[in-house]
Symmetry: C2
Subunit: 186 residues, 2 copies
């Protein structure tokens, strides 16, 4: 087994982080890997917003909290009422990936780049989680304002968000996988 295959197999989404920030050298390597992902016709209609500013993360958390409190879902209201609530599990680095909503195949492009981020990070012993749920944050009116503040390009939509940091606790077990989704025609 190659190191790469080992990294792919062992990587899991982590939802509990230590407060320690990841080094810039690691972040730079990881982001270089993101940009080298294959993408349709090298269109690169993607954008990566790397947030390590605690004030900004708090602001996003508050908009998210407000949305959840208004959601009408008891489970969501309960989650948002926790004073320690964080949509990003208090990870010190958050990467919002957005894409030009008019371009084709951008969901694929962004996810290919996202997997590079997750695997490059894991190979540096940096834990990660990938989420689609933060799109909820940006769909509210305050969320739209937030996108401007975060300098997400006009006309770009949230595709997914990645958290990065050091794992606090054990690596989670993988959820069961259905092997019946592969057809071999030999």
């Amino acid at each position: 087994m190659t190191e790469t295959i080992e990294i792919i197999k062992r990587r899991r989404c982590v939802r509990k982080y230590k407060p320690d920030q990841i080094p810039d050298s690691a972040l730079n390597e990881i982001m270089e890997c993101a940009l080298l992902a294959p993408n349709a016709m090298n269109q690169q209609k993607w954008h990566f917003t790397v947030i390590q500013d605690e004030e900004i993360l708090k602001k996003i958390t508050e908009v998210s909290r407000e949305n959840l409190l208004k959601s009408g879902s008891e489970r969501m209201v309960q989650r948002a009422s926790d004073p320690d609530y964080s949509p990003f599990f208090n990870a010190p680095t958050v990467i919002i990936i957005s894409a030009d909503s008019q371009a084709r195949f951008v969901q694929l492009d962004c996810a290919l780049a996202a997997e590079n981020i997750l695997l490059a990070a894991e190979s540096l012993d940096i834990a990660s989680c990938i989420m689609t749920s933060p799109e909820m944050i940006f769909k509210s009116e305050k969320g739209r304002e937030l996108m401007k503040e975060l300098k997400i390009p006009e006309g770009y939509e949230h595709v997914c968000t990645i958290t990065l940091g050091y794992r606090d606790g054990d690596r989670p077990e993988p959820k069961p996988r259905n092997k019946g989704v592969i057809t071999y025609l030999k």
Copy 2:
């Protein structure tokens, strides 16, 4: 730099393959990596059709050729008129990734799995290409029939196709990347 980062950085889409087939042991490792990709709520609404049967690959090629000849595009007609035409660059292994068209976030799920396939393959010195264009093949009436023959589950749509094999010639250079697509908020 970790091996994984090196693999991510050096991997390119390859469009010229030797006829040699990849070993089953490699294919099995690669497909295991595909299934271990993160995916929304572990929904696994994806399907992987691994084709190594030359007759089936020829059949898909003929449907694709027919579509191109009817396309009205001079460039396409010219491409399809080449007796050696292959939408898959004559790669010995082709993986069609499809997904439940009703499920959310499946484009992301499939691309995360696709990147695992590409990187696991590269780490085993197996070259690859990822393409969205084969969706054209499956949009025609004959293409729809083909999907049934390939046992792609009902209600599933083509997301992307991956070719695997041994590179014939040099590894292509990466296309230039725009570093301005990253915003750092520290």
